[in-house]
Amino acid sequence: MRLLLGIIFALAVAAVVGLGTTWLTSRTGSASGAVRIGAWTAWPKSGTSEIDPYARATVARSGTLPIGSGDGVLFIANVDDAGQPLDGRCEVTVSGTTPPARYWTLTLYDPQGFLIANAANRYGFTSQEVVRDGSSAFRIAVAPRARPGNWLPSGGATRYVLVLRLYDTPVGVGVQSGREMAMPSITNRVCP
């Protein structure tokens, strides 16, 4: 009887531990193969056949198509440089320069990867669209209400993520070797 109870107990522990960790890692993505630069994270191997099993599980579960390494590199941020979660009710400034690329796009999504409705119908900027102050540096204000210059509406969402995609870029190799690159800073300025 005690043996049976023991087996049931062990199996229950196995189910909770095994399925729980699988559920968690396939939801949040794994740390393996991640490259972090400031608030930004990239998984350069996810765009190749060498994608690790955890990233494969995340891709299958979320239904995304990862950006191929011959196409570009994707960086995602869900916090600012100080580690505070990105909150659409605050005003956040994304500024600086990107690593070299033929084109880049910056897009704002909800944490599930869907666009957030806003009156301006603007969901991001391309490198050609963004207004620069004479130099190669740019400044984008992510805010719920209109701002002068480059305004990316946050739609007032409590949580959002920023995705920076570099297209036709030589950084893939650099990212894989973990070399430091200049990425735009994300600074949290005003929170009501």
Binding site: V13, Y103, G124
Partner: protein, 184 residues
């Protein structure tokens, strides 16, 4: 003490369950990209992806700055010929297995032509290619698919929203057609 041992055994077994389920998840996922695209993309034809909006997006994390089309391919009958005209800005072609592994991607500049032309086949079909044909057509770009079925994603950047109709127009000319070996 005995319960501690059972607990330890359970945790070890849990680790095995974790690894096995992670490996099996891609096969078991019912809402992966391939499944989401099945209702809008017929097999071996190029289908335009509706631009993502806050109300509706076929896949999560689509880049709204791009016009995109998808070819849901099945190589079991014949290899596939892909033709993609390039836009004035940026065009790329990405290949995915049935489970969403990005095994190959190329952009317009790397392809170096006004029309990106690729042939997609399984390694078995490639082995069937006549040897001399490979020599005579050295500039044929042949991609080997690791799976019989999969997805080809074709994207064209609209640098500004006003360029979106042009980008979508370019993609209406993209084609993916089965091409039996020896037919050309």
């Amino acid at each position: 003490m005995r319960w501690l041992l059972w607990l330890l055994g359970g945790v070890i077994l849990g680790g095995i369950v974790h690894l096995v389920t992670i490996m099996l998840l891609p096969q078991a996922a019912s809402q992966d990209a391939y499944a989401r695209l099945t209702p809008i993309a017929a097999v071996n034809t190029m289908a335009a992806l509706p631009p993502p909006t806050p109300e509706r997006s076929v896949l999560p994390f689509l880049d709204p700055a791009f016009a995109a089309a998808v070819c849901r391919y099945d190589l079991s009958e014949a290899p596939l010929k892909l033709m993609v005209p390039v836009s004035p800005w940026y065009t790329s072609v990405s290949f995915y297995t049935r489970q969403g592994v990005a095994y190959y991607a190329i952009n317009d500049r790397a392809a170096g032509r006004r029309v990106i032309e690729l042939e997609l086949m399984t390694s078995d079909q490639r082995a069937l290619l006549p040897g001399d044909e490979e020599v005579t057509s050295a500039d044929r770009l042949i991609i080997e698919s690791p799976s019989t079925t999969g997805l080809i994603l074709v994207k064209t950047l609209a640098v500004t929203p006003s360029a979106a109709p042009v980008a979508r127009g370019v993609l209406t000319a993209a084609r993916c057609n089965p091409q039996p070996i020896g037919s050309d």
